[in-house]
Symmetry: C2
Subunit: 225 residues, 2 copies
C-alpha cells in the first residue's frame, strides 16, 4: 500500500526543500545547515527532522544529519516545481521584477493546488527554466539539475554563458542585472586578483570588477546554453 498522502504542513515542505537544496549542492544536510537555511535554531531542527523521519520522508542518523528518501525527494521536487512555475508566471504574466518574486512564490507555493500550477505552466507553454535560469522539475519528478561551475571557477581567459543564479537575494539580483549578468549572457574572465581578490569579467564589451562572494553565486555553462 502506498500510504495516505497525509497533507504535509508548510514547515515540513520547507524542510524538505531545504534538505533537497543542500544535498543538491553536494553537502550532507546537517542540522546546522538546515537551521541556517530556514533561519531557525538548530535545536528546532532536531525535532522536526525526527518527525520527518517518522513519516518516511528522510532517513535520519543521530548526529549525522538527514538524507531525503525517494518519497521526500518527490515532495521536495514538487515544491520546487511550484516555486519555479510561480516565479515564471509572476514575471511573465504579472510583470513582477525578477528580483522580487522569490518571497511571493515562497508563500504561494504552499497554497497553490497542483491544478493551478499546471494551468500556469500551460499558459506559459511549459517553460523549462525559471527567470533566474533554474531548471523547472517536470510533473513526473525529473529535473536536469546538473551541478554547474560557478563564475568563480572560471580560469583567466575562459569564456562562458551565464546559466543561472540564486534567486534568494533581491539586492544581489538587482546588482547583477545592472552589470548585465543574466541567464544567457556571455562573458569572459579577464583577470583574477590574487588571494581571492576581485575578478574582472567582461560582459559583452563592458568590463566589471566583482567580488568572490558575488561570483560564487553565479553559475555558468560552457559557451552555448
Amino acid at each position: 500500500m502506498a500510504s495516505a498522502p497525509a497533507a504535509l504542513t508548510r514547515q515540513a515542505e520547507d524542510y524538505l526543500k531545504a534538505i533537497y537544496e543542500i544535498e543538491r549542492d553536494g553537502e550532507v544536510a546537517a542540522t546546522t545547515a538546515i537551521a541556517e537555511r530556514l533561519g531557525i535554531a538548530p535545536a528546532s531542527v532536531s525535532g522536526m527532522v525526527r518527525r520527518l523521519g517518522g513519516q518516511g520522508l528522510v532517513k535520519v542518523e543521530r548526529y549525522q544529519g538527514a538524507r531525503l528518501t525517494a518519497k521526500g525527494r518527490r515532495v521536495a521536487l514538487q515544491m520546487i516545481r511550484r516555486h519555479r512555475i510561480l516565479e515564471s508566471y509572476l514575471v511573465s504574466r504579472l510583470s513582477f521584477e525578477w528580483d522580487g518574486v522569490h518571497d511571493e512564490a515562497e508563500r504561494l507555493e504552499h497554497a497553490a493546488s497542483p491544478a493551478l500550477i499546471e494551468r500556469m505552466a500551460a499558459a506559459l507553454g511549459h517553460p523549462e527554466v525559471d527567470p533566474h535560469g533554474a531548471p523547472i522539475p517536470r510533473p513526473d519528478g525529473t529535473v536536469d539539475d546538473a551541478r554547474l561551475r560557478s563564475l568563480n571557477d572560471l580560469a583567466v581567459g575562459e569564456r562562458a554563458t551565464v546559466a543561472r543564479m540564486s534567486d534568494r537575494d533581491p539586492a544581489l539580483l538587482r546588482y547583477l542585472a545592472e552589470l548585465g549578468i543574466r541567464p544567457g549572457a556571455d562573458l569572459r574572465m579577464v583577470d583574477r586578483a590574487p588571494f581571492d581578490g576581485p575578478l574582472t569579467v567582461a560582459v559583452g564589451r563592458v568590463r566589471h570588477v566583482v567580488g568572490v562572494g558575488v561570483a560564487s553565486r553565479v553559475y555558468v555553462g560552457d559557451g552555448r546554453r
Copy 2:
C-alpha cells in the same frame, strides 16, 4: 501612532471574514454561528474571539457574541477583496470554472501579497464584481454590499435580474449554470407551489422548477444591473 500591523494568522483572518459575513447578513456573530461557518467546535471559538478582542479587531461581550471594530472590518474587507480578485483572475485568466475557484481562492488569499492582488486587479481592468456577481471591495475598504432580495422573495409574475449567488458550493453552482441562472440572467417568477413548495421560474423562454433551498441562495436585483 497607527499601531503595528502585527501580521495576523491565517485563522484570525478567517474568523474576521466569517464574522463580517454573518454581520452582513444582518445577524449577530454568535459563537455558534462562527463555529458553524468555520467548521470547528464552539469551544474553540470562545478563545480565539477573546484573542481577537485583545488585538482590537472585535468587541466581545461575554455570552453575547462578537462585533467587528473598524479595524477588524478593514481586515475582513481586505480578505474579501483578495478572495474575489483571485476568483476573477482564476476564471478569466487561467480558465478555471466558476464552480471550482472558491477553495483555491480561499487558500491563496492568505498567501498573496497586496502587490500581487493589485497587479491581478489591474490586469483584469479593476473589475467591480467577481464571477459569482459578488461586489469586490475597493482598495480603500469601501464596498457596495447592499442586502439583496433572494429569488425566493419574488412574487409570482415579478421579473428580476440575477445579481449574485453564494460561491461556496460547487454543486449548487454547476446546477445553476445548467439552468442558465448566472449573474446577469433575466428571469420571471411563474409560479410558487403552496407551503414553501417548489418555484417555477422562467429563464429566457425556458421554465425550470427549483426548490426553496436553491432559490434562497440566489440573489436578484430589479430589472437592470
